[in-house]
């Protein structure tokens, strides 16, 4: 079936109500580049149909910056930024958020540190004031620091027996033995206990800088006002600070099969090998290929072979995982201990089939219509639009990316996928971690 897909007429424009068939057009999503007097840039999708503002931002520094022995630092900092700032102690700060229905949160993953603010537009003065305080003058009073520390320790303890957590930690420490990517973003009980307030301040002073800061905003705010708010919140930050480079790294110990014995009825299996970086010319071919192999819900080959035909699993999937300095192609399955070997055999066979034969024209066409048609369906709220604007900037895709995306996907050919599948997929190079009591599986020595 052929049709034009894509999406979003100008968000504030009225959509003609009686037209029954029309082309959704992503190119029309109106993103404005807003630059403040102080030179801070944000992307804005203005829409006043609901009196809400979503304001998201990110720095390109995350848990990979945690020093050895202080793993978990970035996440602990993220948990403490809304626990008191400026003249407001933790309870006063939280009370202002709650009483004004302002939602403010911070998070850290391996390579980014993110903030998300959401407010009713009527409360925006207070919202931006509190955000500015959290970013510029967090207090780190002893009570919240020790309270948050204890919560992180408790979370770590609670997850120590969780098969997914065990599998993830084992996989990354095996494949990146000498690199920050191999260390847990959450840290360990010991490293969380070792983190000091000076460590937290060290991260903030090095990485909360204007260089590398990206901002996405959606909702009920004008460009003029946003420009002013950008300086209020971020204008006092230093422009940049030197940071040590994170080295490039290739995944190590590929092809290993590792079993972590754990007393559960269902084994949790995580597998992966080298992948493809986001700026690789073959990224889009790999992206479409993955949709067909294991990224496509009920349309994927792994789902068809493992779940639909044989009932071996409830969940089986694959995904591309690009980092700044490495790239992975990952997948997973959860299956009864007695059926791990069979499931893995089928997954490897699909890996091999894709590497050798690629995809059919029909599969390719179906994947494209899904990818291009479903992309805009997710952008149904200011919050999601703001977060997308941040992600696009973090990936350095350009302000015209959302309009270009459908063409990039449509340009992928069967030959492109064959080339990238041959390059990426090699079942013998899959490193597999199994947490459970799998039967009939040969472990690597």
């Amino acid at each position: 079936m052929k049709r034009r897909s894509a999406f979003f007429s100008n968000l504030s424009a009225l959509v003609p109500a009686l037209v029954c068939v029309f082309a959704l057009n992503a190119q029309a999503m109106d993103i404005r580049r807003v630059v403040s007097a102080g030179g801070i840039e944000a992307w804005l999708v203005q829409d006043s149909s609901v009196p809400v503002i979503s304001f998201s931002f990110a720095w390109r520094s995350g848990a990979a910056r945690d020093p050895a022995g202080k793993e978990g630092r970035a996440r602990m900092l993220a948990a403490l930024l809304d626990e008191g700032a400026g003249d407001l102690d933790s309870q006063s700060f939280q009370r202002r958020l709650e009483d004004n229905s302002i939602q403010l949160g911070f998070s850290a993953n391996t390579e980014t540190f993110r903030g998300n603010l959401r407010t009713l537009s009527v409360n925006r003065d207070e919202a931006f004031r509190l955000l500015a305080l959290a970013v510029n003058s967090p207090r780190f009073d002893p009570e919240p620091v020790e309270r948050i520390r204890s919560q992180l320790v408790v979370n770590l303890r609670a997850s120590q027996e969780d098969p997914d957590t065990i599998a993830t930690r084992k996989w990354y420490s095996t494949v990146f033995p000498e690199h920050p990517y191999g260390r847990p973003n959450d840290g360990t009980v010991d490293t969380i206990k070792a983190i000091t307030v000076a460590d937290l301040k060290d991260f903030a002073s090095r990485h909360f800088v204007r260089k590398g800061l990206v901002i996405g905003v959606a909702g009920d705010i004008t460009a003029e006002e946003l420009a002013r708010r950008l300086d209020e919140v971020f204008g006092r930050l230093p422009s940049s600070r030197p940071a040590t480079a994170i080295p490039e790294v290739a995944p190590a110990n590929l092809g290993k099969i590792i079993v972590v014995r754990h007393d559960v009825p269902q084994s949790v299996v995580l597998f992966g090998q080298a992948g493809i970086k986001r700026d690789d010319p073959d990224w889009y071919a790999a992206y479409v290929m993955n949709r067909i192999l294991g990224g496509g819900g009920f349309s994927s080959r792994l789902m068809e072979e493992v779940r639909e035909k044989r009932g071996l699993a409830y969940s089986v999937y694959s995904y591309l995982s690009p980092f700044e300095h490495a790239a992975l192609y990952m997948g997973g399955v959860g299956t009864a201990n007695a059926r791990v070997a069979e499931s893995l055999k089928i997954i490897r066979a699909e890996w091999q089939r894709m590497a050798e034969k690629g995809v059919t024209e029909e599969e390719l066409a179906s994947a494209k219509t899904y990818i291009n048609g479903s992309f805009p369906l997710r952008l149904d709220s200011n919050r999601r639009i703001a977060r997308l604007l941040v992600s696009v900037q973090i990936s350095r895709l350009g302000i015209d990316y959302i309009g270009r995306r459908a063409k990039l996907i449509d340009a992928v050919t069967v030959a492109d996928i064959r080339r990238v599948a041959k390059r990426l997929l090699n079942p013998g190079k899959l490193t597999v971690v199994v947490v459970g009591k799998p039967e009939g599986l040969d472990e690597s020595k």
Binding site: M1, S5, F7, F8, S9, L14, V15, A17, F22, L24, D47, V50, V52, Q91, Q94, R95, L97, E98, D99, S101, L120, E143, R147, S150, Q151, V153, V154, A158, E161, D162, P163, G219, D263, V264, P265, Q266, G296, G297, F298, S299, E304, E308, K309, G311, A313, Y314, S315, Y317, G334, A336, S366, T369, Y370, N372, G373, S374, L377, L379, D380, N382
Partner: protein
């Protein structure tokens, strides 16, 4: 609630998100509720000649629609010994009809750029697609088709039963916390079918057959037992002809009377305890049977929602402020209330100790807070703060295509009306301090409750 594809709380998420307990699910829905003065979503409604109710929530922000069909049937309607059949049938609804080959339903939706899924709870089963507006006709045709024309054979059914058993392993059997929740739930209800897990007991799932699924399907899947909810870039005038064309022509099924058994009087205190080597952090919780919206007298359910917000609305409300911040006894503490079930609801509190404190200390501290609340009541300021925060959530809920159809579907399958949803903010705003205190005392002094304790195994030293 269990969804076919993912573990998502709302059924909207896809693979790889983590499992959720019922309590978490409930609290998210309460938080995402949409209170505002007067009407919230301004839906249009009509009913087809065959009894199928239709709700339309127009939202022209983007040329997209969310199309949902909700059935007034869930796990609590299953025949004895067939636990899990409602959820199993939900999976099997993707297996094909005369016109749609097995396994093709979701693929067709995907080929048309759409997303689809389904989910099952104690009281309802729902199917949805999110598509561009010009695909609404297609998904309505397919959804109407499988309401009456499902074909099931052992070839498709038996592997899917294995899938459901794997789903059960990953949700419940792999996780001691979920196993304890399942046991506590079975203890909380002495007689009512809410005691059975939605996904079913393992030994009963293993024996479900194609004929079981078809019998359940024939009885409950009919337009007079279903509700169509469509939200997005469409209004009733545009939708009505399509609804009549696809759903209006379907034959009525038998009239369904939802007549579930009642709970007897509860005389004994119940406590369930699970000790496991797979537990490292202990926790304690207590869950009471509570009124639901439908079973409550007056506005007791609304008063309990305000109560829940007063004790667990954030870092500055009672439980967290006193037990986590001031006393430093707990690492976490929480309360939840589920008002939107067809029969009785439930209300719970839970606590987990900080390192260096024992579970007994945490439990005692939580009980002291509850006693204090029962003794001294709550303040006018607490009531006002809670209500203001709840009402403000309305605006946020309108910033989403999905909140409205979920809220209307849940309401209409649990004995409430469109008007009840639209009036929610007014009813919350009308709650008084006295009503909160009265509801709290009636509930928290009740014996219709179960205590659950999750404990690490005792470890041998050396």
């Amino acid at each position: 609630m269990h969804s076919r594809r993912g573990f998502g709380l709302t059924g909207w998420t896809v693979l790889r998100t983590s499992a959720a307990c019922a309590a978490a699910f409930v609290s998210i829905f309460i938080l995402s509720f949409a209170p505002v003065r007067a009407a919230v979503f301004n839906p249009e409604t009509f009913t087809l000649a065959n009894g199928m109710q239709v709700v339309v929530v127009t939202n022209r922000r983007a040329p997209v629609v969310a199309h949902m069909v909700w059935y007034r049937v869930g796990a609590a309607d299953e025949p004895a010994g067939k636990s899990g059949i409602a959820h199993f049938l939900e999976h099997l609804m993707f297996k094909g009809t005369k016109t749609i080959p097995p396994g093709e339903f979701s693929k067709i939706v995907a080929r048309n750029g759409g997303r689809d899924n389904a989910f099952t709870s104690q009281d309802y089963t729902a199917y949805f697609q999110i598509v561009a507006r010009d695909r609404l006709d297609l998904v309505m045709r397919m959804e109407a088709d499988r309401m009456r024309n499902l074909i099931l054979t052992d070839k498709e059914v038996l592997p899917e039963r294995d899938v459901v058993l794997e789903e059960r392993r990953s949700r419940t059997d792999n996780d001691p916390g979920s196993q304890l929740y399942e046991a506590a739930n079975a203890a909380l209800y002495l007689n009512h079918p809410y005691r059975n897990p939605v996904i079913g007991w393992k030994h009963e799932i293993e024996r479900l057959t194609t004929e079981d699924a078809l019998a359940f399907y024939r009885k409950y899947y009919a337009p007079n037992n279903a509700i169509l909810v469509v939200a997005g870039d469409v209004d009733a005038r545009e939708l009505r002809p399509l609804a009549e064309k696809y759903y209006g022509v379907l034959e009525r099924g038998p009239d369904i009377v939802r007549d579930r058994v009642d709970e007897p009087a509860h005389h004994a205190d119940r406590k369930v305890e699970l000790r496991s080597r797979r537990v490292r952090q202990p926790s304690w919780s207590r869950t009471w049977l509570a009124p639901s919206y439908r079973t409550a007298k007056g506005n007791e359910a609304y008063a309990l929602q305000v109560l829940e917000r007063i004790i667990d609305g954030g870092a500055t409300t009672r439980l967290y402020r006193e037990l986590v911040v001031k006393q430093g006894i707990a690492a976490s503490v929480g309360a939840w209330y589920s008002a939107d079930s067809y029969d009785m609801g439930s209300f719970g509190v839970s606590i987990s100790p900080r390192p260096g404190k024992t579970l007994e200390e945490a439990e005692a501290a939580l009980k002291r807070e509850i006693e204090k609340l029962l003794r001294d009541g709550v303040t006018d300021e607490e009531v006002a703060r809670a209500k203001k925060a709840m009402v403000a959530r309305a605006v946020y809920a309108r910033d989403s295509l999905r909140a409205a159809p979920n809220l209307f579907g849940r309401a209409l399958t649990t004995g409430r009306t469109v008007k009840d949803v639209e009036a929610w903010p007014e009813r919350i705003a009308a709650v008084t301090r006295e009503e909160v205190e009265r509801a709290a005392r009636a509930l928290l002094r009740s014996r219709r409750a179960v205590t659950s304790v999750l404990l690490p195994a005792e470890r041998k030293e050396g």
